[in-house]
């Protein structure tokens, strides 16, 4: 796929070309939205809104990293959703059954692991990570997600978040440190291989 060509065609109004870009990026955008919001349906809405907004603004894309540009739109969509939640806090992170009991291993946190043991380990890890991510301030969360989860470099993250690289560096270091401290609290949830050496010392 020639991304530049697709972008060029999309800028000319070719919806088909844009949809090919959507297919290429929908998983990473959905993952980013889910990690930012910790909620499947909100992430679904945010991802859809991201692509609609991106199509409407595609003419303003002036080169550089398309992925970073898309992440910027997605991050702003997530910020909007988080702001809405702050105004009207309602939805709990975990889904509830009809008896108002939390689902221990929700389907929405599941993945394609092979063995049941691996699945459990992964499940625990995901839950712990998501809880720690949810505890981060949103500016820290977006940096750590873009760099450590999505694999952007500092320059792309800087473009995606509209902040200088120096800010990216300091936010990332602080976010990682907070994640590290938070994960200590979920010690029992973490599989053996993930446990930090001097935990408990």
């Amino acid at each position: 796929m020639d991304e530049q060509r697709l972008i060029y065609d999309a800028q000319k109004g070719d919806l088909e070309a844009f949809n090919r870009l959507v297919l290429a990026y929908q998983d990473v955008i959905y993952t980013h939205a889910f990690r930012m919001l910790g909620d499947e349906s909100a992430a679904d809405d945010a991802a859809q809104e991201t692509f609609i907004a991106a199509y409407k603004a595609i003419c303003t894309f002036r080169g550089g990293s398309f992925r970073a540009w898309l992440f910027r739109i997605a991050t702003n969509q997530c910020y909007d959703e988080l702001r809405r939640r702050q105004r009207r806090p309602t939805t709990p992170l975990e889904p509830f059954t009809a008896d108002d009991e939390g689902v221990e291993s929700p389907k929405w946190m599941g993945d394609d692991s092979n063995s049941p043991e691996d699945a459990l380990e992964q499940e625990a890890l995901k839950e712990a990570l998501q809880k720690c991510l949810n505890g981060l301030p949103r500016e820290f969360r977006s940096v750590v997600l873009l760099i450590d989860v999505q694999g952007l470099d500092y320059a792309e993250a800087s473009q995606a978040l509209g902040v200088p690289i120096g800010t990216i560096k300091s936010r990332l270091a602080r976010a990682r440190l907070r994640m590290q401290h938070c994960l200590q609290a979920y010690w029992e949830l973490l599989p053996e291989k993930f446990r930090l050496k001097d935990e408990g010392s």
């Binding site: 929908q26 998983d27 930090l196």
Partner: protein, 281 residues
């Protein structure tokens, strides 16, 4: 957990080092420290594990395709909030208004600076007294002078405005070029010019010409008598006192209020434009 004595800067360096985002000098320093500082090394290992943990998370699969259709695009365009179109208009307007107030702020400051550089009242008074002598050669004007003949004088008055000496009331001959046939040797000073000096300093040439000439003409007609001129001179001294009191008190307060107002409005509209930009994006 062991209490860390490492600073935020240390963690920042370690974090950047893990991502290969440090320069050669920093890299060397970090590697040296890792060799002999156990606490630094422990922090490095813990951050490495946290980073690895985060990176080990697989990407999720989108629950559906987010393909767009022309209908969805049309629906999103029609359902766009009217606030955003209003915001799109308000944003450049706010930016322009902010710049306007910034210019007003600068102009006000500039004009105040020029007023400050004007000579003290004593100088003005002295020049006022000397003015008839200096301008004497230009006095004799044949009666029946037309408005065109007068233009050079008006120009000379106007072009010398930046020079404080020119602010002193000029010597005005009896005819003044305006009142035809009223020329005479009784050159009369224009005492009422002095109180307007501050205004003149800021006014463009055309304004000065337009402002001065009719008034001076009236003054000439009104003050042909030498005795009357002396009376006016004494009244000038009084007006100077009044002016001095005014400039140091009310004028400064007024200027300060204007500056604060302009500055505040410029910042307010700039802030508004920036906020609207964020809302728009």
């Amino acid at each position: 957990m062991m209490k860390s004595s490492l600073s935020n800067r240390d963690y920042e360096l370690i974090s950047a080092y893990l991502d290969g985002e440090v320069d050669a000098r920093q890299k060397k320093a970090i590697e040296m420290r890792l060799g002999h500082d156990p606490q630094f090394k422990s922090a490095y290992e813990q951050l490495w594990q946290t980073r690895w943990l985060l990176r080990s998370q697989a990407a999720l699969r989108a629950p559906r395709n987010y393909l767009l259709s022309p209908k969805m695009i049309a629906a999103s365009q029609t359902s766009a909030s009217p606030f955003f179109s209003f915001a799109a208009l308000l944003r450049p307007v706010s930016a322009l208004v902010s710049i306007l107030f910034l210019i007003l702020f600068g102009l006000n400051w500039f004009s105040a600076g020029r007023m400050m550089s004007a000579p003290p009242m004593e100088n003005s008074k002295m020049l006022y007294q000397q003015a008839p002598v200096e301008m004497a050669p230009a006095q004799p004007t044949p009666s029946g002078t037309t408005a065109e003949d007068e233009q050079p004088m008006a120009k000379s008055m106007a072009t010398t405005v930046p020079n404080p000496q020119a602010i002193a009331p000029p010597m005005i001959e009896g005819g003044g070029g305006m009142g035809a046939g009223e020329g005479g040797e009784g050159a009369v000073e224009a005492p009422l010019l002095e109180p307007y000096s501050a205004t003149l300093l800021m006014a463009p040439t055309e304004t000065i010409t337009a402002t001065l000439l009719p008034e001076t003409t009236e003054e000439i007609v009104a003050s042909q008598d030498q005795t009357e001129a002396e009376t006016l001179q004494s009244s000038l001294a009084e007006s100077e006192e009044t002016e001095t009191g005014f400039s140091s008190g009310q004028a400064q307060t007024g200027w300060l209020i204007k500056q604060v107002l302009f500055g505040f409005l410029a910042i307010f509209f700039a802030f508004l434009a920036i906020r609207l930009r964020k809302v728009g994006s």
